[in-house]
């Protein structure tokens, strides 16, 4: 393994083991490059490196540090938000489970009274079948993707611990045939006993539980992915626990991702009879997803947002690629980190929600070097609008950005209230609302035909959001709402739009109108009940209601038109909005199967040599593996080694004949070059060609593109990849 002769001299590696090397590292002479993760607030009062006349490199490093700090701060806020949202969703389930645990524990304890004699024995012999049953909570997660529920079960464990239970979290890794029942017992003891012993013995647990300070609490075992456990091992474990239930009151909590039948298939009937089950259902993944999007992307509190294209990518990534909320959050985290790396001014947005953000922002902007300030006014969103702007302009621009963003989320929140009744997906509406092209189209049509709006109010074409767009569907929905729903929605809208008096006034008017109509309707209904002449009155009330609904729809339309300006239409939006969708895609979806083949087919694009430019022909100067791979494409699923080798050889040697031909024709000046090429190829003896071929085939094998010949077919290798 000689690496020292390479381009990169390695620092000493003492190979203490063949497969493990510890690198001894030298301390750098230069500055510290590692930023402090724990540093929460960016101290802007510190000296500005550029003002002090430090080098540009140091300035870059300083701002990179600031951006990293800003990322840590922003992402930890998003993480906390997500955690809070999920906690809010889960809390009722957790409380139900806790209530069930206390009741079951009480029951077991009352049962214990009958077996005082058995309790004194080191091994309790209980013959009563009912007393041998273990209370088991089955939590149906309604989600095939168990990854999303791992955190739910972690939270549940924490909640139960907080409420005074002994909790052990086990998973399918503990219930494998390889580890046996001893494995899960060992894991259980590890978690419960502070000083763990290696002996996997239930007697140890029994003696631990009989200690004074332990015996008043129930022991809860949480298994998050029950379906993936080994059935026989789990059954054995259950049978063992049931023998001891009187002495050690254990309760089980099973996470069930599919249905109860899966549990019936997993466990034999004699194990099932030991379980005294109680069902719980957790919130659906859709509801979780909606709440997360609402809290993270829609609410104005977030300091980082994604562009329309990125939003569409995230939606497609969620729907087509993975389908887990976890992956969605991870994608968002990657987007966030990429944003803070690529956008030099991104650190400006990190305190946007603080109360004294104006002062903070002004301080931050004032300390910016001229280079960054110029950069800000050269952003694509500012081009042609502001030239040679000042610090104040930038601060003003960011304030404007913040205001627009607040208005945008305000209207979107109002829309979402109605969407919830329609069971529409939040992510779809979010994508549509963030689309800048729809907005531009909408505002241009608004300018062109201002009078037409009132006339063609039902014609949805005036909205750039598309005739069948989600936003139009929501507005239409307001036309069909019942009085109760409408009144509730108007109330929530009032809460969201506190900032804008104009809308508040309109809402108040609408509410009074609605109340009046409601009273009127009630009165008329009463009258109609008395007179039994329903047709006349009901038609009246219907018309009145339609009037209110229409007005609400109009208000909604106006709000969308006037206040829901997508962030991408505002100058300086690049500072808080991430839009590099390709970068995100590359970081998230590494597709080695396709990419490695493309690398080989287009090797010259990466190597960038002048000799292999011709894309359509195989040239002897090309990378050997690339030639061999391209040649393999001409074969079927089995590649005849003889043919493959011969064709490779002919390609490699083709330079010889070509070079000779050129040599005859070429003028004297080029002789030197050609003759060197000729000598190169003449050096190629049979051994070298075979060696090159062998090496190329080995590399294809390392890449997993071909499989070596089998004993049955010694003259063929098998292709594993077929097309890109």
């Amino acid at each position: 393994m000689s690496v020292s002769d390479s381009e990169f001299p390695l620092k000493e590696f003492d190979a203490s083991d063949h497969n493990l090397q510890k690198a001894s590292l030298q301390k750098p002479e230069l500055q510290e490059t590692r930023p402090k993760k724990t540093k929460r607030k960016i101290d802007m009062s510190s000296k500005n490196p550029l003002v002090d006349g430090d080098s540009e490199e140091l300035t870059d490093q300083h701002y990179e540090k600031l951006r990293l700090c800003a990322f840590n701060e922003t992402w930890s806020k998003i993480e906390i938000t997500i955690k809070d949202v999920l906690e809010k969703i889960n809390i009722s389930l957790f409380e139900d489970v806790m209530k069930w645990i206390s009741e079951s524990f009480k029951e077991i304890r009352s049962c214990r009274g009958e077996f005082v004699r058995e309790l004194m024995l080191s091994y309790p012999i209980v013959t009563d079948m009912i007393c041998k049953q273990i209370p088991t909570a089955l939590i149906l997660t309604k989600n095939m993707e168990f990854v999303d529920d791992l955190s739910t079960f972690q939270e549940l464990s924490a909640h139960l611990k907080l409420n005074g239970c002994h909790v052990a979290s086990l998973s399918s890794i503990d219930f494998t045939t390889k580890k046996g029942v001893g494995g899960c017992l060992r894991s259980l003891l590890r978690q419960l006993l502070v000083a763990s012993s290696d002996a996997a013995d239930i007697f140890v647990l029994a003696s631990w539980y009989s200690e004074q300070h332990n015996c008043n609490k129930p022991i809860v075992i949480v298994i998050d992915d029950t379906e993936q456990c080994s059935g026989p091992i789990l059954a054995e474990f259950i049978a063992m626990l049931s023998e001891w239930i009187i002495k050690i009151p254990i309760l089980l909590v099973f996470g069930v991702a599919t249905s109860l039948t899966s549990l019936r298939k997993l466990l034999p009937s004699d194990a099932l009879q030991y379980l005294q089950s109680c069902q719980f259902t957790s919130e659906s993944p859709q509801a979780r997803m909606n709440s997360i999007i609402e809290a993270v992307l829609v609410k104005p509190s977030s300091e980082f947002i994604v562009s329309h294209k990125v939003a569409v990518f995230l939606r497609n990534y969620f729907l087509r690629h993975d389908g887990t909320i976890t992956s969605f959050i991870q994608a968002l985290k990657v987007a966030c980190s990429k944003h803070f790396y690529t956008e030099p001014l991104s650190f400006l947005c990190c305190d946007l929600v603080d109360e004294d953000y104006e002062v903070l922002l002004a301080k931050k902007v004032e300390s910016l070097p001229r280079k960054l300030l110029d950069y800000a006014f050269c952003l694509p969103s500012c081009e042609g609008k502001m030239n040679n702007g000042t610090f104040k302009d930038l601060v003003q621009g960011i304030f404007e950005l913040k205001k627009t963003r607040r208005y945008w989320s305000m209207v979107l929140m109002c829309l979402l209230e109605v969407a919830k009744l329609n069971k529409l997906q939040l992510l779809d509406i979010f994508c549509e609302a963030a689309n800048p092209t729809s907005f531009k189209l909408q505002s241009s049509s608004h300018l062109q035909a201002p009078t037409a709006i009132s006339n063609t109010i039902h014609d949805m074409k005036i909205h750039g959001f598309g005739k069948n767009g989600f936003i139009n569907r929501i507005i239409n929905k307001t036309r069909d709402l019942q009085v109760v729903q409408l009144s509730r929605i108007l109330k929530t809208w009032e809460g969201y739009t506190k900032e804008i008096c104009e809308i508040q006034d309109k809402l108040k008017d609408l509410q009074t109108l609605l109340n009046a109509t409601d009273n009127d309707t009630r009165l008329k209904q009463q009258l109609s009940n008395v007179h039994r002449s329903t047709s006349r009155f009901s038609s009246f009330s219907g018309k009145d209601m339609m009037g209110v609904n229409e007005k609400v729809a109009l208000l909604m339309e106006g709000m969308v038109r006037d206040y829901m300006k997508p962030i991408e239409c505002i100058p300086f939006h690049e500072i808080i909005c991430f839009s590099l969708v390709d970068m995100l895609q590359e970081a998230l979806i590494g597709d080695p199967r396709k990419t490695i083949q493309t690398d080989l087919l287009h090797s010259h694009t990466y190597i960038q040599c002048c000799c292999c430019k011709d894309k359509n022909t195989l040239l002897p100067s090309m990378h050997d593996t690339s030639i061999v791979f391209t040649l393999a494409q001409e074969h079927g699923d089995l590649v005849n080694l003889h043919d493959w080798y011969e064709s490779y050889k002919s390609i490699i040697l083709s330079s010889r004949t070509k070079a000779r031909r050129k040599f005859n024709k070429s003028p004297a000046s080029k002789k030197g070059k050609v003759s060197s090429a000729l000598s190169d190829s003449s050096n190629l003896n049979e051994a070298t060609i075979q060696a090159r071929f062998c090496k190329a085939v080995t590399e294809l094998q390392i890449s997993g593109i071909i499989r070596m010949p089998s004993k049955r077919r010694p003259d063929y290798v098998q292709r594993i990849t077929f097309g890109l």
Partner: protein, 369 residues
Amino acid sequence: MEGGQEQTREENADLDEEEQDFTFSRNYFLSKEHASGKKSTATRKLSDITLVDEQKLREAVAEITPKHEKEIKSLLRRYKDSYQQWFFQLRCGFNLLFYGFGSKKLLLEDFCNTSMVDNGVIVINGYLQSINVKQVAVAIAEVFWNQIKNNRKSRSKKSKSFDSEPIEDILSFLDREHCDDDNFVCVIIHNIDGPGLRNSDSQQYLARIASCSHVCIIASVDHVNAPLLWNKKMVRKQFNWCWYHVPTFEAYKVEGIFFPLILAGGVAAQSAKTALIVLQSLTPNAQSVFKIIVEHQLAYPKEEGMPRSKLYNSCRERFLVSSQMTMNSHLTEFKDHELVKTRKHSEGQDCFYVPLNTEALEKLLLEVG
């Protein structure tokens, strides 16, 4: 209108995806068809090529002058511009995974040497045949222990040994909150999809190591099917990868050491050679018994093999064995070394044959003789 266009674009994307799937399956069936069509023509054998002796071939492989050396070096130099970004991503809490054609060993190590100046680095060579993941965890823990000890500038110079501690304790030590939370150990895993790590247990442990808060992983994959090693929990919750496409076109020098050369005498010659080595270590009598089987096989190539009774008679005629017992002991020896195999004759009798082709057998006879 625009919304409509958007929709069409999305529909097109859908169609593209479908088209891709379709192309993939079509390619597969076309290649199958291609293969079956070719069967009609006489297949050529590897032995038709005049193969160079294995020793010479190995020497030639070692002496190959790489093509485009300069360009590859400049390609690697271009990646240096991304080091800053990679380091940023690493500090954001992601682990880095590099893929693309070519050995990434030098690139990764250079990146660590340039960027990880303050942290301990451990290198795992996944391309080797066997790797003890427990040892890896122990090594990481020891490096981390020394690191926090140095940072605290504590006087005790006692180094802690983690050898006897269970892996669970080591993992919780690496994940625990320490007073200096900024400390981390960087683990470079060359070929995390390599033969030594390609089992579920190793990957599970690596995933758990990767999820520890004081460990950063920088890994490379080379196999096209590498992502199949991980389930969603490992990918999303533990490894937390950020992918980077970095084709280097560097030769897989160390990675390919354990792979047999495809033209190294071919499979037949390889087994003939091993057969010869085994035969030479046997007694002359045993060699002669083997020769009888080979001669019979060469004389009657279409038969299932040499029946036991016939073999016994021939051996007795030549005074090679005196009893069934001695012949059986020879046969057991042959079978143990896979020199001879048995199959049933149509009449149910055991027949012995040598699992080599005619050419290899002829060569073997010459060499033994």
